[in-house]
Symmetry: none
Subunit: 218 residues, 4 copies
């Protein structure tokens, strides 16, 4: 009987570098996000990825090289998602709304991104600094946001003098902190901030804060 399904792979094809590499990267993302760099275990990554432990070193050099690759992939992920936004097609207020919603949704859907950034900051961005791709990780949204603010200003809707980078960081911070610190906050304040109603309330609040701030002075 012939081997079944030529095109469909069995769990792990014998020789498929791309796939092996990707499987390691995936498993490592999960592991690093869950346990941090120091707490991550190379053995667990290898087991979860289905690849031999040696392969991890073959492709990524060492644990820290793997961590950097994970980090770069994480940035690439959000940048890729950002590119699908079409913020300049709509009016300024709607545009800001979309950006906030996108930021919120992305962080919500990608808790590993938050965790990885925290880990990298614990290490003072030492890995990122070594990255040759670091520059290209810069968000194009800053420029876009600048254009939106400018247009809102021209239309006399927004206040003037808003630094797009500051605003970008503020939007991120308003979303990020809530989600990043959701466990301690929930514990300390005795509320389940991760539950749906609370999450909806948070998004509304963040939107209110940002748009409330941007309103031109009366």
């Amino acid at each position: 009987m012939p081997r079944q399904k030529l095109a469909a792979e069995p769990d792990r094809p014998a020789r498929d570098p791309k796939r092996t590499r990707a499987a390691i990267l995936d498993a490592a993302t999960t592991e690093f996000a869950r346990y941090g760099l120091g707490g991550a275990r190379v053995d667990r990554i290898s087991r979860a990825s289905g690849a031999n432990k040696r392969m991890l070193y073959y492709y990524f050099g060492d644990k820290e090289g793997l961590f950097l690759a994970v980090l770069e992939a994480a940035y690439a992920g959000i940048r890729s998602a950002e590119q699908k936004l079409s913020l300049l097609d709509v009016a300024p207020i709607e545009s800001v709304r979309r950006l906030i919603r996108f930021t919120w949704d992305y962080f919500l859907a990608h808790p590993e991104f938050i965790s990885l950034l925290n880990s990298e900051n614990l290490h003072r961005a030492s890995h990122l600094r070594k990255s040759r791709r670091a520059r290209s990780l810069n968000s194009p949204l800053i420029a876009t946001l600048g254009a939106i603010l400018e247009r809102g200003r021209r239309e006399d809707i927004f206040r003037k003098g808003v630094d797009p980078l500051q605003l970008y960081i503020s939007i991120a911070g308003l979303c990020y902190f809530y989600l990043s610190n959701i466990h301690t906050l929930s514990s300390i304040f005795g509320r389940d901030l991760a539950a749906q109603p609370a999450r909806g309330a948070r998004l509304r609040h963040v939107t209110d804060v940002v748009l409330g701030y941007l309103r031109r002075e009366p």
Copy 2:
């Protein structure tokens, strides 16, 4: 026969439980803040504190017990600082200004607090949840902020319907995220956000955002 050199070894008295405990806690705070829970080394803590490794277990049970103690002490620290604020003595806007400045300054002066919270969140607040002191870690500022908002509303300065907890989280988030992620942000955007001018700009921006948001609708 009496032990010789009674007066000797002045640096650290041979037996001073409080002192030993405090020294361990201090060293552990630094270590956990710098390396995270997974990356922290019991040996380094013992060495830095000058206490024997065994003492660490004697006082705190194990590494995680020590981490919890550090965490509780960190919360106690910020709560103690908060109590020195007299927010209700001044007008609402100034009151909010003070709260923002306090939050910013505290995070700036206590990077270990940020790092410890990140670590605890990585572990899903598992230590805090076990703490019996957890309840008492709740910030009294939420109630105070509620009173400020209420007063501002009555004086027709602030908008209505602002949830004090949400606002508290927002103020924290606007400060925290910038400082917590300062290394990756600086690296990605190619700016030194830790330098003084940038820090001043950030505090102004945060104040603008919050007060801009709180303005009553025109």
Copy 3:
């Protein structure tokens, strides 16, 4: 039947730092001599010494630190044996005879010494150079040999102008090379140079060479 020798230790006393350290050093000497630095296995050393593997690092830092300690102990061993020689008590010729015999016997009885030196030279003496005890490893025999040569010269028995260090190296080399390379030499020349008759012949030859050389010119 009563257990013998009350005072004698069971195989390994529970707490005896000196003993533990010495046991590790002994086992390491054997291991390094047999397999070289690269081929030596920390696990084997730990097993053979009866000490926990961790103890090896506790006392010696790492594998190379242990190697250095072994090396220093090996030098200390030969220097200690040299001190028992009383070369200046007898006539010059007999004195040189004794020195040769001592050198030969010591190398013969301590093949590990030869092997360790070879290993260290493979590594370009990198460990020895780091040693603070290196200076004290210098042999006092050079000075003694100088005195012997001088006396032999005065008595018109020996030739003049002999550098004691060169002669010392020559005596060592004549013995060392034969024993160090005994396996390849035996294999290449198809003779068992390790057998007793061959060994006796070698010692006689070496003595002849050295004394033949030292003879004053006719």
Copy 4:
């Protein structure tokens, strides 16, 4: 469609068995000499030789097979050099002089030969014993030296009863030990024995020792 750039990659022809084999052997010689058998890395050899790692196994079976091949080549090298000597063309004393100088120069120019012999002796000549070429590695110089000694004896210049093998080993030992152990000796005695003046002095000394010994008794 034809593969582009037929003439490209001139450095190493894609398929040149002899060349590949020789490149591996060269790289392996360097590697084994530098790090010993245990410390040598197959990967480094493969990289340095430019050949695929698999080729190494293809040609030499395994790491130890490669080591043996290196060893045999090293012996072949010195034997080949020896053949260029014409010791029987000159008077006995000059003949011995030449042999000493040759031995010294060869060891000096081929430190890898010394290192390889040391490695093989560490392993008790286990590789050499398996070699079918071992017999042919025997030096023809022993016989030649025998003839020289005999002639010197007949001419009443040399002493009688000198075993050519012993003398050969002595000449080798006097040169070998100094060079083989040059790092430890330099370190212990605090002199740079590798510098030119010291090297010249050593060659003179060795010559003096051997010729001094060979002198007929007065």
